[in-house]
Amino acid sequence: MTDRRVVEGLLRLERDAVALYQGLTRQLTGRPAAAARHFLDQERRHADSLEQALASMKAPVPGAAPNRPALRGGQRALIRTAIEHELTCIRTYDQALASLKAPALLATASGVMANEAQHLAVLRQLLDEDPAPVAFVKGR
């Protein structure tokens, strides 16, 4: 798969993350809401960076609308939804790191993957779960 295709896939994922955290900031309260607001800002930065990467490849930036998740349940259920999305992100970036070729994209991808892992740690702590249960973080 070309770097362009990989980046397009990652951009779709990040736009989904932005939509997710936009929804969560409206439904969560207290500390979880503060985390969601902060993570929303970071996911936006991820998406912006991937759009810039496509532009630097002279590739068109897709304008598709993100998948807006159904956010149901109380605080714990909503945090669990965010955890599942972060795990999906980590798995996807893990796959991307195996196939991307350009060092600049590899640097971006690994930095974002690590950030999603940090989101995961904070979200787990909000549920009183172990924030860092495994030595090799692969999104499983």
Partner: protein
């Protein structure tokens, strides 16, 4: 040495790292930052350099094992529990990297004698000192992995290194959270983790 007297540059050299341009750290002897255009693979990536990068990471993991081992007696409660868990994980990282270097025909870097680590580390008088030092150490590790992963030729090695990078990032988040009453802006300071943010 008190934490304020600690010579960070000497420590980085001790841990097998080089201070590159703009103050970033990288594994010593593994080449300067690559600014190749997007879409262009790094022509300097070779299996030999991959092995050197992993061996550099191993030195860092050995240092982390020594640091958590020395810090544990200073800690209590939840923080001690996390430190023990992180120590166990750093040992797993070291074992995996050692096996990879050996499989690639290299000689894995060995841990130094405890007295050498003790001399290189700052004096740790209590939990607060340890949390600052451990956070700094995790930042150094993150910086080194962020620099090294794009230089790895083998995609599977990039995945392994990234999985460790993510774990070190989670360690940093937990430590920073412990120092900031769980403030996510402190615990997760960078949208692109480089290890250059400090608390």
């Amino acid at each position: 040495m008190s934490p304020s007297d600690w010579n960070r540059r000497d420590f980085l050299r001790f841990a097998g790292l080089a201070v590159a341009a703009a103050g970033t750290v990288g594994f010593a002897g593994c080449g300067a930052e690559n600014n190749a255009a997007v879409g262009v693979p790094d022509p300097r990536a070779t299996p030999q350099r991959d092995r050197a990068i992993l061996n550099g990471a191993l030195t860092l993991e050995n240092t982390a094992v020594a640091a958590y081992s020395m810090g544990l007696p200073l800690l209590r409660g939840d923080v001690r529990g996390y430190a023990q868990q992180f120590l166990d994980q750093e040992r797993e990282h070291a074992r995996a990297l050692s096996a990879l270097v050996r499989d690639m025909g290299g000689e894995p870097n060995q841990p130094k004698p405890p007295a050498e680590y003790r001399a290189a580390f700052p004096r740790l008088a209590g939990e607060a000192d340890f949390l600052r030092f451990a956070t700094d150490l995790e930042n150094v590790a993150m910086n080194a992995y962020a620099d090294g992963i794009p230089k790895l030729k083998d995609g599977r090695l990039r995945q392994t290194a990234a999985s460790i990078f993510c774990d070190e990032s989670q360690h940093a988040t937990v430590l920073l959270g412990a120092r900031s009453n769980g403030d996510p802006r402190v615990a997760v300071p960078e949208p692109f983790v480089t290890g250059r943010a400090t608390a």
